[in-house]
């Protein structure tokens, strides 16, 4: 069952189309990574989910019903632009935000102290926020998003500006929340982190979702590649239909399979079987010291998705110039 369903969000700022039919679903307990270049529409989408912006078109539904004000108060939100009262004490700030989200006074204190402890800022509980380092302010910001035990977490760039230890703390908390069944959506430019943490990823470009799915889905290709460190030359490949040589450097050979008959090779099991066939052919030709499927990293997928339009846009730009 989808907990959060975002469908066909459209938003324009004057002539600028910030969002153009953005849709995705967020399942319970799922960590969803939202990636895209600056200005692609991540923040706008999140703000619309939170209700601080209204969409021109499209819906946000929560457990099957359009999300309302009461539902939105059950979201934990970390805006891109960090925001806390600089002159308010850490504890008071967390307690105040917890109470605004509907907790009673004693529950607010308990929750604030618990999250301050979890995030390692309990020693600064009575200090003014402005006295904390930026990294610690970021932890307070996360605590502020978590303090009311939200049913959904929406975090805009939660990892930006964090040191490696803080990144680990933040990752741990997000995984722990997801494991507790809370769906988490967060945006980040740290793609390795997204790849490591997220169950699913959405790539947004110019206000459109250009790719989304599990990391495995996104990595999947109809033309899988393998790297073989073994026999030299390409003679051993000739017996393999649909397999062609991509590159060869010394003993390292990269091959690609493309489906010629149009009925196999698209499934993961078919891909694995082809891999084994290639490996056997290589072993028959000589010793193999290394064999691995070459999967594109999220960074490569992202580059591919984002560069597609940027290149075409660049070409168009050049054409206009001429």
């Amino acid at each position: 069952m989808a907990v959060l369903d975002v469908a066909g969000l459209t938003k324009a700022y004057g002539d600028l189309r910030a969002l153009d039919g953005v849709s995705f679903r967020l399942e319970a307990g799922e960590l969803f990574g939202f990636v895209g270049s600056n200005g692609a529409g991540k923040t706008t989408t999140m703000r619309i989910i939170l209700g601080v912006l209204t969409a021109d078109a499209g819906t946000v539904t929560w457990d099957g019903a359009p999300i309302d004000f009461a539902g939105r108060r059950r979201i934990g939100y970390m805006p891109e632009e960090r925001g806390l009262y600089p002159k308010m004490r850490v504890g008071e700030q967390l307690e105040y935000l917890a109470r605004l989200h509907g907790l009673d006074a004693s529950a607010a204190v308990t929750a604030s102290k618990r999250w301050a402890e979890t995030l390692g800022i309990d020693a600064r509980y009575a200090d003014e926020v402005q006295q904390l380092s930026l990294g610690n302010q970021q932890r307070v910001q996360l605590a502020a998003a978590l303090v009311h035990s939200p049913d959904l977490l929406v975090l805009d760039e939660p990892f930006s500006g964090l040191d490696p230890v803080a990144v680990d703390v933040m990752s741990g908390v997000l995984q722990e929340r997801a494991a507790a069944g809370v769906p988490v959506i967060f945006s980040s430019h740290q793609l390795d982190l997204v790849e490591r943490l997220c169950d699913r990823v959405g790539i947004i470009r110019d206000g459109k979702m250009v790719a989304q799915g599990t990391i495995a889905d996104l990595r999947h290709t109809d033309t899988p590649q393998w790297m073989i460190d073994g026999p030299t030359g390409d003679g051993w490949l000739s017996s393999l239909p649909g397999v062609r040589l991509i590159s060869q450097q010394g003993a390292r050979t990269v091959v690609e399979y493309s489906n010629t008959d149009g009925n196999s090779g698209s499934s993961t099991s078919g891909e694995a079987a082809i891999g084994q066939t290639i490996l056997r052919a290589a072993l028959a030709a000589g010793p193999v010291t290394e064999f691995a499927p070459l999967r594109p990293s999220l960074t490569e997928i992202y580059r591919h998705e984002v560069s597609t339009t940027e290149e075409s846009a660049a070409h168009q730009g050049n054409g206009d110039a001429r």
Partner: protein
């Protein structure tokens, strides 16, 4: 994913049952934060103490400078005839000169009191011998100069003595002449009698407009700075994910209103208490009690008007440096009645323009209390002006709420009023 779903539903069902939070509890929380953070600030406490100290000092100075309604201490040496003492007191009373008589033990003792400033004048018997016929039967000793109103009193009595002497010399009866003169009055009928204005009314009127101006400007500036503080620190985005923009604005206005009211009650209360203890206003025609009650009502209305205006205007900008310029038009609306009061109304409390302006919601909070200090408001005027102003509030609140909601999340360059209204 499907495996975790049942767990989540169970967790959601067993999760903390949140009470349906009403608008008022959100507004209350926001207001309480404003009150606690602001009253705890050292700057606020120091300002309040200074304001209290200044007004109390003002009242005490007025008291020791002889009171707002001037009263003279006049000493009579024991050898001044009782008839002369009575005559001087009667003449002073007839001329509305407030005077307290005392009897120093001797002329030397009286002069010592003059020197120390405890006496304004010392009356001694006429030095015998070279006095011309008809000269008054007393002389006056002062430290430096004789106050003109006392001088007039003594002169009037001296002239009376001289006249009596002449009348007696001509064979007439001074008593008959005096009675005849006393009755020879021109009957004057005033069509619009001007109420008598004493100095204390001018002072209280001025103090009222100054305190009201400071309170309203300070309070609404607090609101403006608070709005921009939330905008520039971006905390507003978190807040607005939880509360509606209008609640946030209402809570802020309410909270800061309470903070400023505390400060004003402390200040004006200290001034009223000091005035009561020193009796400095006892002789005045001001109805202090009702004036204070009405002033509180006018403060509340005026604060709501200016706070809403400044909250809306301040939401258009994102930096504290821009607050001044964006709120300028609203501040002019407060400056206008203030300047008018100081330059015109204090000298001419019955001015027609002042009367008309005191029914306009923006000006009423300044002008009505001042006019009330001069007792020139008919009983119906303040209630009617208050009803007009209160009826105006929902319109203003609606407009301010729209501007605020349309502008408060848009950080960066200053937003045009028109754009804020359109996007709300």
């Amino acid at each position: 994913m499907s495996l975790t779903t049942p767990t989540v539903q169970a967790a959601a069902a067993a999760g903390p049952a949140l009470p349906a939070q009403s608008a008022w509890s959100s507004i209350g929380l926001i207001a309480r934060r404003e009150i606690s953070t602001r009253t705890r600030a050292k700057s606020w406490r120091v300002t309040t103490l200074i304001m209290v100290a200044v007004v109390v000092a003002g009242v005490l100075i007025a008291h020791f400078a002889g009171g707002l309604t001037q009263s003279f201490a006049v000493g009579f040496t024991p050898d001044v005839p009782a008839a002369t003492v009575n005559a001087i007191e009667a003449t002073a009373k007839a001329a509305s000169v407030s005077m307290t008589a005392s009897t120093p033990a001797s002329q030397d003792a009286g002069q010592a009191l003059l020197t120390s400033g405890d006496l304004d004048a010392l009356v001694i018997p006429q030095t015998a011998g070279d006095a011309p016929s008809g000269a008054p039967s007393f002389e006056v000793v002062v430290k430096q100069t004789l106050d003109p109103s006392l001088q007039a009193t003594f002169t009037a009595l001296a002239q009376q003595d001289a006249l009596d002497a002449q009348v007696t010399g001509l064979g007439g009866d001074p008593g008959t002449v005096a009675a005849a003169i006393h009755e020879a009055n021109v009957q004057v009928t005033a069509l619009e009698p001007e109420p008598t204005i004493d100095t204390s009314q001018i002072v209280v009127g001025l103090a009222t407009v100054i305190v009201m101006y400071i309170a309203l400007m300070m309070g609404s500036q607090f609101v403006a700075q608070g709005v921009v503080e939330e905008k520039s620190s971006r905390v507003v985005e978190i807040l607005l994910a939880t509360v509606r923009p209008t609640y946030l604005m209402a809570g802020k206005v309410l909270g800061i209103g309470v903070v400023v009211l505390i400060q004003m009650v402390a200040t004006v209360g200290a001034a009223a208490l000091a005035a009561h203890c020193t009796g400095v206003l006892d002789a005045s025609a001001i109805h202090l009690g009702s004036m204070l009650v009405w002033s509180v009502a006018w403060f509340l209305v005026g604060f709501t008007i200016f706070a809403l205006m400044l909250a809306a205007l301040a939401s258009l900008v994102s930096r504290q440096e821009e607050v001044g310029s964006v709120t300028m038009p609203a501040l002019m609306l407060a400056m206008l009645p203030y300047m008018y009061t100081v330059t015109v109304l204090l000298h001419e409390p019955q001015a027609q323009l002042g009367k008309v302006m005191s029914f306009v919601p923006f000006f009423a909070p300044f002008l009505m209390p001042v006019r009330a200090a001069f007792n020139v408001v008919a009983p119906w005027e303040q209630p009617v002006a208050l009803v007009i102003a209160v009826a105006f509030l929902p319109v203003l609140a609606w407009l301010a709420g729209r501007i605020y909601a349309g502008a408060v999340l848009r950080t960066g360059a200053r937003i045009r009023l028109k754009d804020a209204l359109r996007s709300a």
